[in-house]
Structure formats: C-alpha cells, structure tokens
Symmetry: D2
Subunit: 106 residues, 4 copies
C-alpha cells in the first residue's frame, strides 16, 4: 500500500459513512491533535532511554502502534481534504532545512 | 519520492548532524506534538467553512503547507526510530475500523 | 480553595506516592499536552455553535469538566515544580497584550 | 490577583475588542492546544534533568514563563466561557484520585 492508496481508502471510508461533512480542515486538525496527545501521553513518564525500549512490553508496544496508526490516518485524511501532497511538502521543507542547517564537514 | 525515501533521507539528515542522540521516541513525540500545535493554531479562529477555503490567502496557505511538512517529517522520523511501518499499522487499524463502524447499506 | 491551596495539595499528593521523581518539567509538559489533547478531542466534530451548547448532554458535560480538571491539575503541578506563579505571569502577559492590541475607542 | 480576577479581566479584554464571537469552546480548546504545543516544544530536546535546570538560561526561562502565561490565559478564558470553576472541578477530581490511587502507608 502506498500513501496514495491509504488516502483513497480513507476517502472511501468517509464517503460510505457520510462523514465528509465532519471532515473540514479545522475538525481534522483537532482530531489529529487529539491523537497526537494520546501518543505523547504513552511516553510521558518514561525516561528517553526507557522510551527507546518501548518494545519490551507487548501491550505497551501495541498501544504505540495503535496511536501511530490513528495519527497517520488523520494526517493523511487532512492532507487529502486540503489537496496537499505530504511527501511533496516534506521534500520542499527538507531541501530548505539542508541549507538552513548545513551538515558539518569531516 | 515514497514514504521510505523520505524516511531514509531524514535518517541521513539526522546522522550527518549527529542528531540521532536527541531523536528518542519520547523527544520525537514531543516534537510532533509541538508541530501539530502550530498546525492547529492556524485554524483556531476560523469557522469550519472558512477553514475549507484555506487556499484563498496565499500566505496562510503557505503556512498550512509548511506546518503539514513539519508534522509529516516528525511523524516519519518517529516511525523510523521506532521501526514501525506507518502504512502497515494504518492499514491494520482501518481494517478494524471497517468492522467497528459498518457502513450503512443502500 | 485558592490556586495556592490546589498547588500545595498536589505537591502533598505527589510526595505521598513518591511521584516527585516523575514530575520533571519535561514530563509534566507532556502530561499536560496529553490532557489538552483529550479535551480538544471532545469538541472535534462539533460546530462552534454546538460546542457552546456543551451542557445539553449531561454525559458530555461531565467529560468536559473531567478533562478541564486534568488540564488544571497538570498545569498547576508544572507551575509548582517550576516555581512559577501562574497568576503573576498571566497578569504580566495581559498587561503587555493590552498595549499590543489596543481596544478600539467608541 | 485571584483566578476570578484574571477571569474577569480576560472577559473585559475580549469584550472591549469584540472577540467574544471567536471565543467558542471549540475555538478556545484549539487555542489552548496550540499554546501547550509551544510549551512542550521548549522542552523537547532536553533530558528530564536538563528540563529541571530551566532557569539557567535567562532567555529560555523567559520563554517558559511566557508560554505558561498563554496556556493559563486560554485555560481560564475557556473555563469562563463554559461557566466552569477550575478549582472546583480540580478539587473534585483530586478527591477521586486519592481514592483511586491510595498512598502507601509507612
């Protein structure tokens, strides 16, 4: 599955349930924000080192995967509603960041 | 560019600047959360209808694209550090959602 | 109860459970962020007008109160750990905002 | 200044600028979410230990105070618009938490 496939499947999912009317950019930004809040909460009491060992506890790892899925779903849905290509804007930004933050030479 | 290409380019970007040590899951979840906050803030005073006409003002539209880029970058970087395939977990979740929220038949 | 009373009660609550070691500024900022995400999620699919009628559904209203409580608790706890007086910094900011955004005269 | 004084001053500030119409619960939840994102971002690359030494750099400390002010302002404004007493709901929640999470006896 590509990002475009996911985008299309999410569009069909929303259409089949008549949910497009809820899927305004404003509402989807809020939904994304809520899911990122849940993802952040998973790591809140862990040290950075503990957070790197997130796979040690299977239940915790399943929660992380589940929240990552929700964040991805709302981000891709928002981008589709906005008509923005996420890979394209990310590439543009990264091109700019490579100039703004030059890598040290050896 | 595919999601995998972006992921790889972000990894090289971090490596070249010796930033991997900052890129723990905990820290990247916070960075993602900060960027989503900025994206949400763009839409905060707009009505849902106004948010759908986000392209009317070119400066505003550029800000939206820029924040979407930042959100995408940190989400893809976080997934790479976690070793999670975003499309894969999103697909799994969507399969489950299709059962949880059955579409009405015509 | 005043804000100072709440602050003190939260400190005693954390001390009695030996939770101070988790309550670093970084961790508490994440916890605050997670709770604000839950609060935001409550309003995500409502129109602004519907959100103003939040008390119509008692269960929904109870959830709103509950999330506001959690947000308040983590904000007050974070401020206590930082040694910052929230009313004081808010007043300073508001004084500045009154100059930045002058009210129109009649 | 008490929390009630701040609440009243924020109400007058909004009234004088005719901003009440923007201050729906939905919009204010988004504004709160945006400010918490900025606060979280300040701590994102710090270790928990470094975050506890936040006052070492005066500019950084000023930014923390400024973001805490913004978060407080939007939380208090949201509570006022909702007609919710933040200290009251926090106390109710804390009473419940003391039962849910009993402190260990010595």
């Amino acid at each position: 599955m590509t990002l475009d496939d996911l985008s299309q499947r999410l569009r069909e999912f929303a259409d089949a349930r008549d949910w497009q009317r809820y899927h305004t950019p404003k509402n989807l930004a809020m939904a994304l924000s809520g899911e990122v809040g849940e993802l952040t909460a998973l790591f809140q009491w862990l040290t950075p080192e503990e957070s790197a060992r997130w796979q040690d506890a299977p239940d915790f790892a399943a929660n992380v995967r589940d929240e990552l899925a929700d964040v991805t779903i709302y981000l891709v849905r928002l981008a589709d509603v906005l008509g923005v290509d996420l890979l394209d804007v990310a590439k543009t930004k990264l091109d700019r960041n490579e100039i703004r933050f030059p890598a040290p030479r050896d």
